[in-house]
């Protein structure tokens, strides 16, 4: 897991250096208006020349980023059409994010959830925090049922320190329940980033012939001819994703749609580049 996470991060960083944009929390965070007592050495005089107001720069060390990673380990995450399950992909992503944060001396923590919170590590910036996070991730096994909404509510109660909450899930729960949980996080002034991980078959149903589909969480089966329902299936999925996107957008939640055949480093790079343009 560590090797995978490191390779992802290094790939990401390699791409990042080639990027004309500067990623977050590496050099600069933001400005705030000068108030008496701020260090005058950090006044941005160029900005004063433009704005005729005094603004003070804020740096990484000033923000104390807390990265909370919420990893969905429900049964639906076991879907593996390409030989690599969504859980495996999501775990790698979680490890990469943790590696990146800790590398930058940010605090990172992880919470595993399915029907409820299964395991949790609060955010810390210690060196061995990464090992502990990786250990927790490596031992994650898919749980039978999911209730992401309830679990995220629980996790929200556990994420006391304001920070970035990266939810890594397939989001197969009811959208209102999910949004309710996200609202809880936003209420606690967290910045929420949703990494939605899907299997290519789940998104596109590219199968042919007579197929007996099995629900990984309930065990329910359904046999049908894949071609005959493909169009309707995709339409339903698209409709669901559109609704999810709309809900996330309305709440200012960044949603990253990933499939297990997407290279993880490239996916991260594209996200951070998009984010930095905002």
């Amino acid at each position: 897991m560590e090797l995978r996470a490191r390779s992802v991060v290094e790939g990401f960083l390699h791409g990042l250096h080639r990027s004309p944009y500067i990623g977050f929390s590496v050099e600069f965070a933001s400005h705030h208006e000068y108030v008496p007592g701020d260090d005058p050495r950090h006044i941005n005089w160029k900005l004063y020349a433009r704005q005729h107001r005094l603004y003070v720069k804020e740096f990484d060390g000033d923000t104390n980023l807390n990265l909370h990673i919420l990893l969905d380990v429900s049964g639906s995450m076991a879907c593996a059409s390409l030989g690599r399950s969504k859980l495996h992909y999501a775990a790698t992503l979680a490890a990469a994010l943790a590696h990146l944060a800790i590398r930058q001396h940010d605090a990172a923590g992880i919470t595993l959830f399915a029907g409820q919170v299964i395991a949790s590590l609060p955010p810390r910036a210690k060196t061995q925090q990464l090992q502990e996070i990786l250990g927790l991730i490596a031992n994650a096994v898919p749980q039978a049922q999911t209730d992401a909404g309830r679990a995220i509510h629980q996790a929200a109660e556990m994420c006391r320190k304001r920070g970035v909450v990266a939810v890594i899930s397939d989001c197969f729960d009811e959208i209102p329940r999910l949004m309710d949980a996200f609202d809880h996080l936003l209420f606690l002034n967290h910045e929420v980033v949703l990494f939605q991980v899907l299997d290519p078959w789940e998104r596109d149903l590219p199968l042919e012939g007579n197929v007996r589909f099995r629900d990984l969480e309930t065990g329910e089966t359904l046999t049908t001819l894949s071609e005959s329902i493909r169009v309707g299936y995709r339409q339903a999925v698209r409709q669901w994703l559109t609704e999810l996107e709309r809900e996330c957008l309305s709440r200012g939640i960044d949603r990253v749609e990933l499939t297990t055949d997407d290279p993880l480093d490239r996916a991260l790079l594209e996200y951070f580049v998009r984010r930095s343009r905002q």
């Binding site: 995450m77 197969f172 789940e202 197929v211 007996r212 589909f213 049908t224 005959s228």
Partner: protein, 660 residues
């Protein structure tokens, strides 16, 4: 509808395959795990009803493909034709003469093979390929007669279920058949193309009477030859008794003619005459030998035959293609010697002076040209004077009254009863027979009309001017070599005015009847108006007196002419001896029908003067053992082929979108 390869319809059992596939392949599906089925359920819910319809439609298409492919190989064709069409007429003539009952092939396999006519009916489907699809069709069987094949009320002639007659006993007459066809074509002229198809074994003897035969030149005749290439036949072609009525208790001769129409010698084949009369049976064996293509005659000498009808067969023991003519029916009547009671109405003490002297003498003598060991009649002479009474008539066949004045009441009743029992009577005129006799003759049932009394010739004697040459009694005298009745001379006669139902068989020049006859069933009353004595001339001493008297008495007894037996042609009737009222009919196959020599279609067309169609075919059993690949009109395969393609394409398209 018919099928060229009907046996392939058994492959329809293959429709079970798509049904099994429909049921079994449903279960084969590939398992896939997904994180959630909720989107699948949404999609499936929309698709369920459409899928249900597609599944059954797919099954129907697959079953339809199997059915169409099987039908494609079975090659159905339309075999029925509607009546009342407006596109011409096609006449089908199917030969049902006796020669069509042949079973062709080696003797060991003939019993299992079919007759030529059955083969022809079975091959009708091939013939019908030449018939335009919308043509009106009229069909008929023919031998010596033509019998149309009935159609249903809507004019439809159903040939698909036609069956050949079981009994074929008629001769062949192409002219009669084509005359009928010509009449049908004439009635349909102007409605469209006309054509005639003849299915026959082309028997050379079957041309019939061509004297008044005419056939339209513009109507093509298709001749379908169903006969075998070679044929051989042995037949009894003729049986001739010495007479259809012979004397009882005397031997007689029956001749039989055997025809050897085979390509090999007929050597010492057993022939048998079998005759039966009630419980008496006579069998006389013989042997026949004949060269190739030749005939031989065999004479069977019978022992003395008792009275009555003798009927039977002459048959030859041989195994050939046409067993029907290996035996021939024969019948003749052996007439018992008539028992004659001669009532002499003017007897004398000296017999030679009696009225019946010459008559009795004549009846006891043999007719000219014949020699018999016994008297031809059993004659009892009874002087019948005024005091005499008619004796018992139970043992009498013919009552002869010579110059009898009349019959008292009891005698008249006895005579009438005798006639009612089937007895017959001959009455000769004379001076005793006059108007006063009429009432008693009427009472006795002997009257043939008004008795006018003696009528004497004046200047010249009465001579017979005309007589019924076709009547059995006087027919022998039609040949003057047997005697010229015109030479008889009468000085007088008893004039009779004929009553109703009386036939005058001979008249004098002035029309006065001489011989009269009345028949009632088996009973006959014959009058000869002239006296058999000397009153009316010397005719009783003429040499014609004896044969004339014999004919009169035999005629009264019903023993003249052919007697009760008639020989008639088969003409499609049941062959054999059959009683029709008082007559026995003997029907045999026409001898020409046994000659199986064949002609060609060209010869038939040339002799009948008809236009032979070019695409006539051969339907002989050997020729039609073909591979069945020939195309037929009316076949539905193009539509079936199109159906298979469309069904297969639809199945292919639908199968990719449907759960099996």
């Amino acid at each position: 509808m018919g099928f060229v390869q009907a046996s392939l319809l058994a492959a329809l059992a293959a429709v079970i395959l798509p049904i099994l596939a429909h049921l079994l392949f449903r279960r084969r599906s590939r398992p896939v795990d997904l994180g959630t089925l909720r989107f699948l359920k949404v999609a499936v819910r929309q698709d369920t009803r459409r899928r249900w319809l597609k599944r059954w439609l797919l099954l129907a298409l697959r079953v339809g493909c199997v059915v169409l492919v099987v039908l494609l190989f079975a090659r159905p064709y339309r075999a029925e034709f509607t009546g009342g069409g407006n596109t011409g007429l096609t006449v089908l003539l199917i030969d049902r003469s006796a020669s069509m009952s042949r079973k062709v092939g080696p003797a060991s396999r003939r019993s299992g093979s079919e007759r030529l006519i059955d083969h022809a009916v079975r091959q009708l489907s091939q013939v019908l390929t030449q018939v335009p699809a919308r043509a009106r069709v009229e069909a008929a069987w023919f031998d010596k007669k033509v019998e149309p094949i009935s159609s249903t009320e809507d004019g439809r002639v159903s040939l698909a279920s036609l069956e050949a007659p079981d009994t074929l006993a008629g001769g062949t007459d192409f002219a009669a058949a084509l005359s009928w066809a010509a009449a049908r074509c004439g009635a349909a002229r102007g409605s469209g193309p006309l054509a005639v198809h003849v299915l026959t074994d082309l028997q050379r003897t079957g041309f019939g009477s061509l004297e008044d035969f005419a056939f339209p030149k513009d109507v093509p005749v298709h001749v379908w030859d169903v006969g075998p290439a070679g044929s051989g036949n042995v037949a009894v072609v003729g049986v001739r008794p010495a007479s259809l009525m012979v004397r009882a208790d005397y031997p007689t001769t029956v001749e039989a003619t055997i025809l050897n129409a085979r390509t090999q010698l007929l050597d010492q084949r057993p022939v048998r005459l079998r005759l039966a009369n009630k419980s008496k049976v006579i069998e006389i064996p013989a042997v026949a030998s004949a060269a190739v293509g030749a005939s031989t005659t065999i004479a069977f000498e019978t022992p003395p035959l008792g009275p009555g009808l003798w009927q039977g067969t002459v048959s030859i023991a041989v195994d050939d293609e046409l067993p029907l003519d290996n035996s021939r029916h024969v019948a003749f009547y052996a007439a018992a010697k008539p028992r004659v009671l001669l009532l002499d109405g003017a007897s004398r003490d000296v017999a030679a002076l009696g009225e019946a002297y010459f008559l009795e003498a004549a009846l006891r003598l043999a007719p000219p040209g014949e020699t018999v060991p016994d008297v031809p009649f059993r004659v009892i002479v009874f002087p019948y004077g005024s005091d005499a009474r008619v004796p018992e008539l139970g043992q009498v066949d013919v009552l002869v009254a010579a110059n009898v004045a009349g019959f008292p009441g009891a005698d008249a009743a006895r005579v009438r009863a005798f006639l009612d029992r089937g007895g017959s009577a001959v009455v000769f005129g004379g001076s005793n027979v006059g108007p006063a006799s009429a009432a008693s003759y009427v009472a006795a049932g002997l009257s043939l009309g008004e008795i006018a009394g003696t009528y004497l010739a004046r200047d010249v004697p009465f001579r017979i001017a005309a007589f019924a040459r076709d009547n059995a009694i006087l027919k022998p005298f039609a040949d003057p070599q047997h005697g010229d009745l015109h030479r008889l001379a009468f000085s007088g006669c008893t004039r009779i005015v004929p009553g109703d139902g009386v036939q005058v068989l001979a008249r004098f020049r002035d029309g006065t009847p001489l011989v009269l006859e009345r028949s009632a069933g088996r009973s006959r009353v014959v009058w000869c108006a002239a006296s058999v004595g000397r009153e009316h001339g010397e005719w009783s001493r003429s040499r014609l007196f004896l044969p004339l008297v014999h004919q009169l008495v035999r005629g009264a007894a019903g023993q003249v002419g052919a007697g009760p037996v008639r020989e008639l042609p088969g003409a499609g009737e049941t062959l054999g001896v059959r009683q029709q009222g008082e007559v026995w009919e003997v029907r045999n196959l026409e001898p020409q029908e046994s000659e199986l020599e064949r002609c060609t279609p060209e010869e038939l067309a040339q002799r009948l003067g008809v236009k032979l169609a070019e695409n006539a075919g051969e339907l002989s059993p050997a020729a039609t053992q073909g591979d069945g690949n020939e195309l037929r009109t009316g076949e539905l395969w193009p539509w079936l082929w199109l159906g298979v393609v469309l069904f297969w394409l639809a199945e292919g398209v639908l199968a990719n979108r449907t759960v099996a």
